[in-house]
Amino acid sequence: MEVCGTHTMAIARSGLKGLLPSWLELISGPGCPVCVTDASYLDQAMHLAGRVEAPVIATYGDMVRVPGRNGSLAEARARGASVEVVYSASKAVELAANHPDRQVVFLAVGFETTAPGTAMALARARRERLANFSVLVAHKLILPAMRALLAAGDVRIDGFLCPGHVSVIIGYGAYADLARDFHRPCVVAGFDPPQILAGVSAILDQLAAGEATAGSVYPSASAEGNPTAMKLLDEVFVPADATWRGIGVIPASGLVLREAWREFDAETRFDLPKIESHDPVGCRCGEVIRGLCRPWDCGLFGRRCTPRDAVGPCMVSSEGACSAAYKYDPARRFSRQ
């Protein structure tokens, strides 16, 4: 199983699956940040965008088309809401610095790759005393999800291809306990096809030798990761229980702001209501991200749910498994015509 949206896309774009032997299957796990974010988060963002005197919603491009209960942020923007696509948290805080007259709320989603960026943006906001910047946090940690999947035991996973960028931050040593506890090889790989194949090959070597350790074929990932980034994360965030779409609550799997940084929490600042959200009828995104359901096995795939008219985030997100299958896999394109 790969647990990284960038891997999902790289594999799909290179047509790699079609080249693998029939006894080897690469399945996608909960690696797409947008796909694993609970529907209620998007509805909270929409609620904010729709207010009188709404703040500017600064968001990664991927969130913009995810359909919530009342449409997407892109649709809200078309009706006049202030939604700005940013490529990094630093651009979001810069927006706030450049527009002191507007409140800016940054939709802070993503795994350990993007969380340090959010932390740095908050550090800047504090340093420059920006009263108009806040974050709606939905950062997630990948290891608890991997453990939860293995503990649930309803999907056959023989090894994990681990995310390159996340591992640069957390270090590949972070997977050692999981590898040992569940006896599954964990290998970090980068994102081009030769890297992915090298990672898969390393996993197969371990399986053949009956070993299960944490390793890496990605030069940028060291065993200990980036201690500066980890320290920054620890200063600003603390792990908390988090709801993963389709999986439910996983203990200590998300990040929330520490008390000392709570002034930047958008939920508090804007007194956001807790919103109960449900997945649309027939949508199996939750099962897809757990690897329980292949995209083309969902009844909506290719019919009611396509990239341009998506029901769930796995199809809308540029890193979603359904989007990858629909867009790039010739064999799947017409399995539903």
Binding site: S14, G15, L16, G18, A74, E75, A78, S318, P330, R333
Partner: protein, 340 residues
């Protein structure tokens, strides 16, 4: 569920939604004699035994000035290119401006000087125009529309209906330079290597091909909004034939590729403003590449794919650099707003 009552930014992307808007709303509303649903870069207007080509385009690119060009240069080159790929030589051009109150006059001058220079280089005269000013907030800076009339090349016999199984697909150079240069400037990204728009007139490229190969040139298009992916999707759909391209054959600009990776964009659907896609008879493919490569702007011209057999569900597929296969799909349309 997509909001179907209001225009979305994606409707201007040149992809699926744009096509739907045109076919589903605009053409039916205009009424009158309908062209069979094939949208082309310019219209052919017969008049007294002579065939003219006529085209129009509006330019809303933001930022107005970007590495390698500006909206003035783009407005002229883009329209010249639309005529060129239809097999026409531009004769005369109109240029209409919609300017927002408060716009800096010195900047306006600079942009129009650029337009004038580009027109002179392309051998077309700007003979008429219009100027409107709108109040602050009504439009974003400057919108330019150019329309142009041209004379069809005597040997031109271009169209979807001329494309055959086995035809070669040629590309005049690396993909996505314009889109990446604009997006990088827009997003405040900078690269150590030069990343400039490829904005240029491709009139000389199309003329060379027609002069030398005449009827063996079956189809031409400039891959602007929607990129190569949109052109190939149109081809597959209109001809009912599958298309196969090879990733390894596509020329690459390393800086553009790096930008695309950082921005999460696909070069296949990224806009180009100085490139030509030509579909030619298989037997002239290699010489055609050589003819193109003699031009500076097509120094890396390459043979990138073939037109396949007719089929019920014609797909555009790419053989990837590792030998896998993937579908190249028509872009949805909002990856890059305000790109041209």
């Amino acid at each position: 569920m997509v909001d179907k009552e209001h225009i979305q930014l994606a409707h201007g992307g040149g992809g699926e939604l744009t096509a739907e808007l045109i076919e589903g709303v605009i053409l039916p509303a205009l009424g009158g004699p309908q062209r069979p649903g094939r949208l082309t870069d310019a219209a052919i207007v017969p008049a007294g035994g002579v065939k003219f080509a006529f085209t129009t385009d509006s330019y809303v690119v933001r930022p107005l000035e970007f590495p390698g060009g500006d909206i003035g240069k783009l407005a002229v080159a883009g329209t010249v290119n639309d005529l060129s790929v239809m097999g026409a030589k531009p004769l005369a051009m109109s240029l209409a401006l919609v300017i927002r109150e408060g716009f800096e006059i010195a900047l306006l001058g600079r942009l129009l000087e650029s337009a004038g220079r580009t027109a002179r280089e392309a051998g077309v005269s700007i003979v008429t125009g219009d100027t409107k000013v709108v109040e602050y907030g009504a439009c974003d800076g400057l919108v330019i529309n150019t329309s142009s009339i041209g004379l069809m090349h005597e040997k031109a016999a271009l169209g979807f209906e001329r494309v055959q199984t086995g035809d070669a697909i040629l590309l005049s150079g690396p993909l996505g330079e314009h889109a990446m240069a604009v997006m990088s400037k827009r997003r405040g990204l900078s690269f150590t290597s030069e990343l400039a728009s490829d904005c240029a007139s491709i009139a000389a490229l199309s003329r060379s091909l027609l002069d030398r190969f005449g009827r063996d040139v079956h189809f031409m298009r400039d891959p602007t909004r929607g990129g190569l992916a949109a052109v190939l999707a149109d081809l597959a759909e209109a001809t009912g034939r599958g298309i196969e391209i090879r990733e390894a054959a596509i020329p690459v600009n390393r800086a553009a590729r790096a930008a695309a990776e950082m921005l999460g964009l696909d070069l296949l659907s990224a806009a180009n403003e100085g490139k030509l896609v030509a579909v030619v008879a298989a037997e002239v493919a290699e010489q055609a590449v050589e003819v193109l490569a003699r031009h500076d702007i097509a120094a890396h011209a390459a043979f990138v794919g073939v037109v396949g057999e007719p089929g019920d569900h014609p797909l555009v597929e790419m053989v990837t650099s590792i030998g896998g296969r993937r579908v190249v799909q028509r872009p949805y349309g909002e990856d890059l707003p305000r790109i041209c």
